[in-house]
Point group: C2
Chain length 287, copies 2
């Protein structure tokens, strides 16, 4: 049987990819063909629409560089990254929920508890503190807490390396004997994902804004426990209901508490407005 027609081509392609020797390649290839063909059969693209799709993917590929990953942005903005995160992090009751890793992590410099990681960032002082516990509530000493966030204009240090070669808004801490960590930095802000490429054009065509609500990233690691990658979002942010990458979970929203002057939680005397964010995290044993 040579024929590839509209009725039998899906079965023909499935028959071909079943030759994969690796069973996982076979499973993924078969599912890809079934779902991709179902999409094409449903929308019945014109040839011009198919060509537009080819051009979109090509431009997305050409936008990718050492400092820009447009296919990850595409995955993020179509909700695929969060779905993959959810599938891979079905956490136990009591454990802190995860959210996406994002493109702005690099292993950060280590600081002592209480240090200020704001570096060349300017903005409103923000005191962040918390305790790392296991799901039974026992505090974990010597856990590694990586923190990273944008500046008050919405840029990560990595996005301005040409102007400021030093890290800022990024640090590694270790919990003390009571399982706690604390640090000073400055408040980040809501910011748009890079939207000068094909993904920005897609968002625009779909009537969507490119903003993510204000958040601080955390990655928490301790021997014998699953690595936790999450954000803590600022309560009240106008983009909490419409995060361009669908990263928000209710349990990850906290008030960034405002203060005016007075004594900060670590005894420092403050002269103007400042904020504090207290967040405890619960991590679960490795599988």
């Amino acid at each position: 049987m040579h024929e590839s027609n509209e009725d039998n081509i899906t079965e023909a392609v499935l028959g071909r990819v079943r030759g994969a020797s690796d069973p996982r390649v076979r499973t993924i290839s078969e599912a890809l063909v079934r779902h991709l063909h179902a999409f094409i059969r449903e929308v019945e693209p014109t040839e011009a629409e198919w060509e537009a799709g080819i051009r979109f993917l090509t431009r997305t590929g050409h936008m990718c560089s050492a400092t820009r990953q447009e296919f990850i942005l595409l995955s993020d903005t179509l909700g695929v990254s969060m779905l993959v995160d959810a599938i891979n992090h079905r956490v136990s009751a009591g454990a802190t929920e995860t959210t996406i890793f994002g493109p702005f992590y690099v292993p950060p410099p280590e600081f002592p508890n209480g240090a200020d990681i704001s570096g060349h960032f300017s903005g409103s002082p923000l005191y962040i503190s918390g305790t790392i516990r296991n799901v039974d509530g026992a505090p974990l000493a010597a856990a590694i807490v990586d923190v990273w966030h944008s500046d008050a204009e919405g840029f990560y240090d990595l996005q301005k390396l040409d102007q400021h070669p030093d890290h800022a808004g990024r640090g590694r801490f270790r919990t003390d004997t009571s399982g706690s960590f604390r640090l000073w930095t400055v408040r980040p802000t809501a910011y748009p994902i890079p939207n000068d490429g094909p993904v920005g054009q897609m968002l625009s065509a779909q009537g969507r804004h490119p903003y993510r609500p204000e958040h601080v990233h955390f990655m928490i690691q301790a021997p014998g426990y699953r690595k936790l990658v999450t954000h803590i979002f600022a309560a009240g942010d106008p983009y909490l209901d419409s995060d361009a990458v669908f990263g928000v979970k209710d349990s990850l929203i906290r008030t960034y508490q405002g203060h005016i002057g007075g004594l900060a939680l670590d005894g420092r005397t403050m002269s103007g407005p400042w904020f504090s964010l207290h967040q405890d995290f619960s991590i679960e044993p490795s599988a």
Copy 2:
């Protein structure tokens, strides 16, 4: 409701893309999200598999250039191009069937009937002739017949422009008052699609060869009729059952008839082996 969890993220993304002002963008975006999420939910990719997918798409994009379209190869090898062709060319009974356009067409130089278009190609002489008719069987004079094919090593002229700047194996003819056309060229051969990129790696992982069976491309145009894009495949080719791009239809397979010496159909005296291919085409009125 802020929450994006495994249960509700698909609905959340669908809700977002419904803001598209263009109804076709909305339809395609919604279908894309539903089918893409269904694929992810079925295969439950690990984070490493998701990263491998991002890298595959990125390499595919980076492979695309002015002379190489790796996303079209991906579409071809997953059967998407043929499915789009089938959806867009549901021909009437009696009309010649279509197959994919391929990446090797450029508007060809025009020749008089009977001319030899082989140019710098070498190989076994091939005489091609046929009549263009409407679906009622009436011959169509002055129809435009574009013909293109590979050389005997499987390369199109466009793939060797650095060695041979002139066209070869490519020409435009006009049917005579009896609706017929005829030309000399040389036999092409089965050939592999370009397989030194990500698509070649995918074929290899799926246990597939990259070959297309021997064929000659035809594009036929006449005022008031639908443009016909098709191939005529060589009967007996070992790859007819496994064309890497699923382009074969039974009705498009013909015997490339072998001869030894003697008088060719146009009266030319032949000294060695040569072939002839006779193929009539029926085209249908424009919508």
